[in-house]
């Protein structure tokens, strides 16, 4: 259904795209972090693309899923309400370089989603206007949705003094 979007991206950016796929009606494009803003701006501003709706932005921790390839993958889902097509952008990120440019300037709706992704995975969005934790408190150490975060590790804000009873 959104094959035209993939075709347009391929003809405009060509080899700059790392990969494209089209499974079960889901059109995906994988781009490097350095190319993200360029691709995203084209998707928003080109009248044939007109992606006006930021659907979601999150991250996948691929620890243990595959032997090779980068550990993290930031996923951005876009939809065009006027042209009724959609596209998914994936940005692979290495564990030691968890940075990509923020797209919250292009779609304001991604502001809080980028903060959530930072909160849970520790991905840094460069150029984000207010990148700090959104759900958790500032005293929290670490990023709990990473696969190697121990399930019983807690960061209590307050505990009772058992001695006084």
């Amino acid at each position: 259904m959104s094959q035209a979007v993939l075709a347009a991206l391929k003809s405009k950016f060509g080899d700059a795209l790392l990969a494209t796929s089209s499974n079960y009606g889901d059109e995906c494009v994988t781009v490097a972090a350095a190319k993200l803003i360029e691709v995203a701006t084209f998707l928003r501003d080109d009248p044939k693309m007109a992606f006006d709706s930021p659907v979601f932005l999150s991250c996948i921790d691929r620890l243990g899923l595959s032997e090779s390839g980068p550990r993290f993958e930031v996923v951005i889902q876009l939809r065009s309400l006027s042209l009724r097509h959609r596209i998914r952008i994936k940005v692979p990120l290495e564990e030691n370089k968890l940075k990509l440019p923020s797209v919250s300037a292009l779609w304001a709706g991604f502001n809080w989603l980028e903060r959530e992704t930072y909160d849970m995975y520790g991905v840094e969005f460069e150029g984000h206007p207010d990148l700090r934790r959104i759900y958790l408190y500032d005293e929290f150490k670490g990023f709990p949705l990473r696969k190697d975060y121990p399930k019983d590790r807690r960061h209590p804000l307050v505990r009772r003094e058992w001695s006084d009873e």
């Binding site: 408190y137 399930k151 019983d152 590790r153 807690r154 209590p156 804000l157 505990r159 009772r160 006084d164």
Partner: protein, 170 residues
């Protein structure tokens, strides 16, 4: 000697009054709240136990019902509300989440509110049946009547300590 007997009887009378006049502060965070409403509503009717009047200010309450999961982020608020309750005060942990964290064994949930405040009665269940809650309230009534509430015991201990210090001073 005679004076002591009189005060202990007076204490019993006061505790008898206390056990039939809980002023509940509902600290409701989750789905267990539905069961709390059911218990408070006419069908199960905690008015029969004198605990029907929820007060939404901790300063007007003496029984705190912690109903539902408490997250680590909520911990300071829970502690603060408990500190504001009028003395003598009691706490019921309503449901497994409040009692132990329930199935939320993860980074957000407090593993039982007794990590933060002392608890008098734990009511298990996910959520507990209203009958279990009534049973819990009756257990607490028994505790209050016998003066065994955690807060009551502490007050007594402090009183004895003051008395001992006075004796030593004199």
């Amino acid at each position: 000697m005679g004076l002591e007997v009189t005060t202990s009887k007076l204490e019993d009378l006061v505790n008898w009054g206390r056990k039939f006049s809980f002023f509940t502060y509902p600290f409701i965070t989750a789905c267990c709240g539905m069961e709390f409403m059911s218990v408070a509503a006419p069908k199960y009717d905690i008015a029969r136990f004198g605990a029907e009047f929820p007060r939404f200010s901790p300063r007007q309450s003496d029984l705190m019902m912690v109903v539902g999961t408490v997250t680590e982020k909520q911990g300071p608020a829970l502690k603060r509300v408990y500190d504001q309750l009028a003395e003598p005060k009691w706490v019921i942990a309503f449901g497994v989440c409040a009692s132990t964290g329930g199935f939320y064994q993860n980074y957000t949930a407090v593993p039982g509110i007794d990590q933060i405040i002392p608890v008098d009665v734990y009511i298990p269940g996910c959520p507990p049946r209203p009958e279990q809650v009534l049973d819990g309230i009756m257990l607490l009534q028994k505790k209050v009547a016998e003066g065994r509430g955690i807060n009551q015991l502490r007050a007594r201990r402090e009183k004895l300590e003051r008395h001992r210090l006075e004796q030593e001073g004199a």
